[in-house]
Symmetry: C2
Subunit: 348 residues, 2 copies
C-alpha cells in the first residue's frame, strides 16, 4: 500500500485539482461536502498518506520539537521527557532528543545551528553549562522554552520552581526536627545564577530566619548532582571533626549517594543523620530508607513547556517571554521522619 501514492494521484482519481485534495487532507479552506466526500473516498481507496518531508519543505515547518537535556539517564530528565513526549504527541508533534552532556559548546551550537536547518520548529532547553548570556545571543527567531534556573530576558519562556523557597523549606524541615548541624551538598560557586546557587541561598536563608549560623565547612561543592558526587561528599562530611546530623542534598541522586555512604559506614538514617533530597524521582521513593524530598510538579512543567512552545511556534508575532513558576511541595519520608511512616507517598 501506498509507497508512491501522491496528492496528484488522488486528485486524478477524484477528478479534482491537487489544491482541493490538499485542502481536504488538511481541513483548511472550506470544501463543498460533495467534493470532500469524493476526495476522501479516493484517499481511502488509494491508501494515500501525505509525505511529511514534502509538506515540511513546502510549509517551512517540520512538526518536530527538540528537547535538549544534559543527561538522558538522569531520572529527573527522563521523567520530565516522558511528560513532554506525551504532551507533544497529543498535539501532533514529534520529539527529537538531544543530549549535551552538559557541554556548553554543544549547547550553544545547537541553539544557533538547528533553527536554520528547519529540523525542528522549536526547542525546549534545559541548560547546564550554558551561561545566561549565551541564551540571549542565540538566533532570536527560534522559539524557545527554557527549563530550570534561568531568568528570561523576555525573548523566551522560562519554567521552573521557586528554588530558593523550596530549598529554604527543605532546610527548615530539618531545623524544625531539632537538627542543629545541617549540611548542604551540591553547591557550585562558579556557575552564576544556576540551581546550585539558588539552593544554597535558600539553605542560608533558613538558617538566618532561625537565627542560626551557617558553618561554611558544611557547604559542600560538587561537580554534578550525581550519586557518586553525593557519596563522596558525604564521606567528606563524616570525616569532619564534628560531622553533621542532617544533610540537605541538591538532588535525589546526591541523596542516594549520601545514603550509600552512610550505610557503608554503619550509620543510621535518620537517627544519626537525616537526609533531604530534591526532584522526587521514583528511585528516592523506594530507597532504603525512602528519601524526604522537594517535589516539583513535573507534569505541569512538561505540559506547560509544550503548550508555551507551540504558542510561540504558531503565533507569527513575537510572544513576550513569560516567567512561569511551577508548584512544588516537600514530601516527608522516612529519611527524616523515621520508619514510623507507612508506605512511601506516591508523590506528584
Amino acid at each position: 500500500m501506498a509507497k508512491g501514492v501522491t496528492l496528484r494521484d488522488v486528485a486524478a482519481l477524484a477528478g479534482v485539482s491537487s489544491r482541493t485534495v490538499s485542502n481536504v487532507v488538511n481541513g483548511y479552506a472550506p470544501v463543498a461536502e460533495s467534493t470532500r466526500a469524493r476526495v476522501q473516498q479516493a484517499v481511502d481507496e488509494l491508501g494515500y498518506r501525505p509525505n511529511v518531508l514534502a509538506r515540511n519543505l513546502a510549509s517551512g515547518r517540520s512538526g518536530q520539537l527538540a528537547v535538549v537535556v544534559p543527561y538522558l539517564d538522569t531520572p529527573y530528565f527522563a521523567e520530565l521527557l516522558q511528560g513532554i513526549i506525551r504532551a507533544a504527541r497529543v498535539r501532533g508533534y514529534n520529539v527529537l532528543i538531544d543530549q549535551t552532556d552538559g557541554d556548553a559548546e554543544h549547547e550553544k551550537l545547537f541553539l544557533s545551528r538547528g533553527s536554520q536547518q528547519l529540523l525542528f520548529d522549536g526547542v525546549i532547553f534545559s541548560p547546564l553549562g550554558l551561561a545566561q548570556t549565551d541564551l540571549t545571543e542565540r538566533d532570536a527567531s527560534l522559539p524557545l522554552v527554557v527549563l530550570g534556573e534561568r531568568v528570561s530576558d523576555g525573548s523566551f519562556d522560562h519554567i521552573g520552581i521557586d528554588d530558593v523557597s523550596a530549598s529554604r523549606e527543605a532546610t527548615e524541615h530539618l531545623l524544625d526536627l531539632g537538627r542543629r548541624r545541617v549540611a548542604a551538598i551540591g553547591d557550585q560557586p562558579y556557575r552564576t545564577g544556576e540551581a546550585a546557587q539558588l539552593r544554597t541561598r535558600g539553605y542560608r536563608l533558613a538558617h538566618e530566619r532561625a537565627g542560626l549560623p551557617v558553618r561554611e565547612e558544611y557547604v559542600i561543592s560538587t561537580p554534578r548532582f550525581n550519586r557518586s558526587d553525593g557519596a563522596t561528599a558525604m564521606a567528606h562530611l563524616l570525616d569532619l571533626q564534628e560531622p553533621p546530623d542532617a544533610v540537605f542534598c541538591y538532588s535525589d541522586l546526591v541523596a542516594l549517594g549520601a545514603l550509600h555512604t552512610l550505610a557503608a559506614r554503619g550509620l543510621r538514617v535518620p537517627e544519626d543523620v537525616a537526609i533531604v533530597g530534591y526532584d522526587d524521582i521514583e528511585d528516592a521513593r523506594y530507597s532504603n530508607p525512602p528519601v524526604t524530598t522537594v517535589s516539583p510538579d513535573k507534569r505541569m512543567i512538561a505540559e506547560t513547556a509544550v503548550e508555551r512552545l507551540l504558542k510561540r511556534i504558531t503565533t507569527p508575532t513575537p510572544v513576550p517571554g513569560m516567567e512561569i513558576r511551577a508548584p512544588h511541595r516537600l514530601i516527608p519520608r522516612a529519611s527524616t521522619m523515621g520508619p514510623t511512616l507507612p508506605a512511601p507517598a506516591t508523590g506528584a
Copy 2:
C-alpha cells in the same frame, strides 16, 4: 545569519553551478581543488547552511532514526538510549524518540505508519506488548533492529543477551551461596517468547542442574518489571508459610522494590534474604545494600544497534537478518555477598 542563503546563492557568488556546490558540500564527486576552494570561500562568506528538509525531500532520506521504547523513565532504557543517541550522532543521524507505554496497538501503528512518511530512515525497536507475528507483518521495507527477547525471522536484526544463560547463572550464584529456598519475581506466563519466560527457564534450569526441585509457589508473576511490582511480590513471598531465603528478580527495579519491602519488615539483606537483580542500572549500584546483578553490555548493544541499522539503511539490497548475542556478566555485590565487599563495582 543565513536565513535565506541557498545553494544557488553560493553558486552565483562562486561562479559555478549548484551541482558543483552540492558536490563540495557533500563531498561526493571529485571536484577540482581550485573550484573547491572557491566554493568553500563562498560558503563561508555567505554563511551558507544546507536546508535539511530540502535535502531530505530530494534524497528521500530523513537522516533520522527512530527509537521506540516502552517507557522512557525506566533507567535501563534511558541508559541504553543515551548510548544510541551518541552512536547515532557520530554518524550524522538524529534520534527521534517514541514511547509506547507498552501498548501493542501503538507499537503496531508505529511500524506501519512511520516509514511511508519518511520521517525516519529506520527504527530501533524495543517491543513489549507486541507479539512475534506483528513484527513479521510490518512494512518490510522499513529497516529495523529489534532489542530484547525476540527471534529474528530474517527480515531484521535482533540484539540481546542470552537470557536463559544469564538467568541460570544468577540463580546458580544464589544456590552456590548455599541458599535453598530461592524464589523468582517477574514471570509473565502469558507473553510467549518474551524475556520473562526465558528468565524463568534459566531459573528452572539452574535448579535442575543442581538436582533441586522448584517450588511453584516461589515463582511470582508480575505485570511489569517495576519497583512497585517487586515490592508487592516480595511482601507476598514473605507471607508464605516458608518464606524464601533468596530471590532472583527479573529486573533491578524489581530488586529495588523487594529491598524496600524487606527493609520495611526489618529483614536483613543478605543475611535473611539474598537478592539478585538484572540490568545493572546505576540505581542498583548505590542502593542499600548494592544489588548483585546481571549486567548486559549496554554500550555494545547501543553501538551495534545503530551500526546494523545504518547498514540496512545504506545498503540497497536486502540485508539478511542477524541474531546478535551481546555479552553479559554477573556482578556480585553486597545484596548477596554481604557488606564485606568494598565500594560498589562500576559495572560495564
